[in-house]
């Protein structure tokens, strides 16, 4: 799956967000109540291994290669931010 242009693909972005939330919930039983705006860092749900899983998920599901320098707290703080990162990285 390739994301071509996110400006007029709001629905697609919503769909990716749903998949990201579902994926993060599945990482760990403690993540079951994660919502798109949950702060994953404050709640301690995101560790370095979870970040590796996010990278693999982005690559496998969306052919998105996330550059290492983009792996910052700001870009990974919420599932919504993760979605934006994946969309930007798939372009």
């Amino acid at each position: 799956m390739t994301i071509i242009d996110t400006r007029d693909t709001g629905h697609m972005s919503d769909d990716i967000e749903r998949q990201v939330v579902e994926f993060i919930r599945g990482l760990n039983p403690a993540n079951a109540s994660v919502e798109p705006s949950t702060d994953l860092i404050a709640s301690g749900l995101l560790d370095s291994l979870a970040i590796l899983e996010v990278i693999a998920f982005a690559a496998q599901r969306f052919s998105a290669t996330i550059p290492a320098r983009k792996l910052t707290p700001a870009n990974l703080r919420t599932p919504r931010a993760v979605t934006a990162l994946i969309v930007a990285s798939a372009r």
Binding site: L46, I51, I55, A68, R69, L71, N75, L76
Partner: protein, 495 residues
């Protein structure tokens, strides 16, 4: 020309004096990019010294420090040190009850913090601001130097609370000499230069930071403080390296593996790296080899030693280890007297496994617990086992608690871990004895064929060392210092 002090006797003497040619050189670059020169740092330390003295603290008293990593925090260490006050860095991410317990057990008198909190939050421990108020006085150098004149390098300098993965934390009490004899050796070992930039990733309660802070200051290299979350987020480390042209990195294997696995070691952003030192836990050879191949121009070192002795063994890698090769933990540092002994305390025969005993100037003064001071036995028995190879280097054979007997067979758990790590897809391994079973935990992103993994173990391990059960986890729990939380992991798989 001012004479350079060759070997500082006290932590605070690592900072350049006002008449030193390097006084206006940048000492610290904070995570937000702001810089502090040696001259400014020395002044900040004197302000803290005055504040502590004015609050009634005397030489030998203890002050806890709860703060983000900043130049102010380092100034607090140096200011306490100037006045002979013993500082205790607290884990910034821990809970208030933990801080209270540590401060109570270690008989701390005051707390310096950059957090907003009421003065009686930890009553009777007095809360003081870490950061100077505008125009806060320095009571001249008179008080400071008067106090300073009475001290010796063997005085208590700081206490590092142990990680506390089990039970109540103990404090490791260290002197100025304990720290600085290691620092002086380390500077020479890696040939640290004044134009180097050292990236400080380790939290200040973790002894890796002793190298970062005092080696950088003493050698007049820049200390670049990584953002608080850098150990988790590779983007923060890449940015800090690139922006500050970082050349020296001292961290745990886990951080290096995360950098490798996220692609952070590829490309020009990290081209300024010159030296990487790892410590704290074994580095599985396959992963180490991949990190080294990604950075062919970097010199790699393993530093080895518990907080109680600081680093006492070191190994410089000359090439990426071959598959299945054993990487030594090192040979004795020049200051360290290292022996391998049997349970009766006699030195073991050449090539035999023995417990590592350490003596020398870096061995701690002792532990501080709720029951008071317990002097360190000399030499210090580390609880780590090793054997000496024909190359005179020591090879790690596990912790005291990792040499076990299962169903009558003696097993070295690290050897089982090594076998598991050579199986494709396994990134981490930890083996435990649970009941009468040897349980192998593997960290792997994707499912593992258990029968194939068992066959793999049979091809590499003696019959008595075969795991009875395998548990796959997506990730291993970790302590705040980045090491695998073995106690937590064992509890998790025991259920």
């Amino acid at each position: 020309m001012a004479e350079r002090i060759e070997y500082p006797l006290f932590l605070d003497q690592c900072v350049a004096l006002a008449n030193d040619v390097d006084a206006d050189k940048v000492a610290i670059v904070a995570a937000d990019g702001s810089t502090t020169t040696h001259r400014e740092l020395k002044r900040m330390a004197e302000v803290v010294a005055t504040r502590l003295t004015a609050a009634g603290l005397a030489p030998g008293d203890r002050v806890a420090i709860l703060a983000r990593k900043s130049a102010e925090t380092i100034a607090a260490f140096l200011g306490a040190s100037l006045t002979g006050i013993v500082f205790v860095p607290l884990d910034n991410k821990a809970a208030p009850d933990y801080w209270r317990a540590v401060m109570s057990d270690l008989q701390v008198r005051a707390l310096l913090t950059d957090r907003a909190m009421a003065a009686d939050t930890f009553s009777p421990i007095r809360v003081l601001p870490l950061v100077a108020a505008p125009g806060e006085p320095v009571s001249g150098n008179a008080t400071v130097s008067m106090l300073a004149r009475r001290r010796t390098p063997h005085d208590d300098a700081y206490i590092l609370p142990t990680s506390g993965s089990t039970g109540r934390p103990k404090g490791v009490l260290l002197s100025h000499t304990n720290a600085l004899s290691f620092v002086d050796w380390a500077i020479r070992e890696i040939e640290l230069q004044p134009d180097d930039a050292v990236l400080g990733i380790a939290p200040f309660q973790f002894d890796l930071s002793v190298f970062d802070i005092y080696a950088a200051l003493q050698r007049r290299a820049r200390l670049v403080l990584a953002p608080e979350l850098a150990a988790t987020f590779p983007g923060l480390i890449v940015e800090a390296i690139e922006v500050n042209r970082v050349s020296v990195l001292y961290t745990v294997p886990t951080v290096l593996r995360t950098l490798l696995d996220t692609g952070a070691l590829a490309g020009d952003a990290v081209a300024s790296l010159r030296v990487i030192i790892y410590a704290g836990e074994p580095f599985p050879a396959p992963a180490l080899a991949r990190v080294m191949r990604a950075l062919p121009n970097v010199s790699f070192y393993n530093f080895f030693g518990p907080t109680e002795t600081n680093v006492c063994l070191a190994h410089r890698l000359t090439a990426p280890p071959a598959d299945g090769a054993e990487v030594p933990i090192g040979t004795a540092a020049s200051f360290a007297d290292i022996r391998l002994v049997d349970p009766a305390g006699a030195e073991v025969a050449a090539g035999a496994i023995g417990e590592i005993l350490v003596d020398g100037p870096t061995v701690m003064k002792g532990y501080i617990t709720a029951n008071g001071f317990m002097p360190a036995p000399r030499p210090f028995a580390t609880g780590d086992f090793a054997r000496r190879g024909p190359d005179d280097a020591l090879y790690f054979c596990g912790r005291r608690d990792q040499q076990v007997k299962v169903r009558g067979m003696r097993i070295e758990l690290p050897a089982v871990d090594d076998a598991l790590l050579t199986y494709p897809g396994v990134s981490e391994a930890a083996t435990f004895v649970i009941g009468q079973d040897l349980v192998a935990c593997v960290g792997a992103r994707d499912p593992i064929d258990e029968a194939a993994l068992a066959a793999h173990c049979r091809s590499r391990l003696a019959p008595g060392s075969q795991p009875h059960r395998f548990v796959r986890l997506g990730s291993f729990p970790r302590l705040s210092n980045g090491k695998v939380d073995r106690v937590g992991l064992k509890a998790q798989v025991s259920n």
